[in-house]
Subunit: 152 residues, 2 copies
DNA sequence: TGTTTCGAAACAACATAAGTTACATGATTT
DNA sequence: AAATCATGTAACTTATGTTGTTTCGAAACA
């Protein structure tokens, strides 16, 4: 399957919400992301459980952001969408008696854990406001632009 | 889908081959990994293309390692199995005009690229001999054992 | 000739995000 | 109260890629 884009999509939506007064309906958001409102509700449910957004039914209802963009990190959103497995490749999980396989798995586990730690550390260093501003990673290569308006 | 285990499996096989005189058949290897010989041939084909192993048909045939374990790094094998996408999560690829989505994608791309660089750097620092010896990562946490015999 | 072994094609199984349909629930407007 | 709007949820389908399996053919060897 292609890569999990829930994190990316939720970041996108939340920044829009942070720059928008009033609620956004699932339909509006779905059009923004070029997808289906049910997919939006499904994914946003995780954000609601964490208390980052609320949803209201009926006229004038929809989704509302409960925090400022400065208060939310990439790590928060990653966790809210279910902390999906970061890696598409990893050790085989046979747990056999073979010491060679054990050594291989130990090595891979260590290396991937280190990379994941770095990733989550970077996630925790970046707020949604930083992204909206065009800042990328504190110590990172920072290849993107600066100063960022909004629009669909 | 569950994680791609080709790298892990090939490391396992190659270390066995490094400690084994003569050829190993796909059937023997398949039993070692508890899978099917066709899967072995399919995956080992990448190693053969890189010149790390050869395969011979007929009686006494099978797979033979052409390099010493000291000469092969984790990175070599990762590339030989096709350099599969390391991450299961990533940016949405709509490439819209929306500057917010662009900023999100730029940030994620940067962060994931940094993590991947670290991963590949670690891969390049570890030889198959290191793994067999129980050494893990030069600068890493090194959580595994030391001194390593062989056996399936 | 017969057996071993790889090579390759073709297809099924499996897992998971994503897309879709359908209906129930609740809130607001008229 | 009725109509409308919007979320909540279940169920099913689609898409994608690794893995598993069957079935041939080709080559090497006894």
């Amino acid at each position: 399957m292609r890569q999990d884009s829930r994190l990316s999509r939720m970041l996108h939506v939340l920044i829009h919400m942070g720059h928008h007064d009033g609620a956004l309906t699932s339909d509006m958001i779905a059009k923004m992301l070029d997808t289906n409102p049910v997919v939006i509700r499904r994914t946003m449910a995780g954000l609601r459980e964490k208390g980052y957004v609320t949803s209201e039914k009926g006229h004038g209802g929809g989704w509302t952001l409960l925090h400022r963009l400065e208060e939310l990190t990439l790590l928060d959103i990653y966790r809210a969408v279910g902390e999906p497995s970061v890696f598409a490749v990893g050790p085989a999980y046979d747990m056999p008696g073979c010491v060679i396989e054990q050594a291989v798995n130990a090595t891979l586990t260590d290396v991937f854990a280190e990379a994941e730690q770095l990733l989550l550390k970077r996630f925790s260093d970046v707020t949604l406001a930083d992204i909206a501003r065009g800042f990328v990673v504190p110590g990172g290569p920072n290849a993107s632009g600066q100063g960022m308006a909004e629009e669909s």
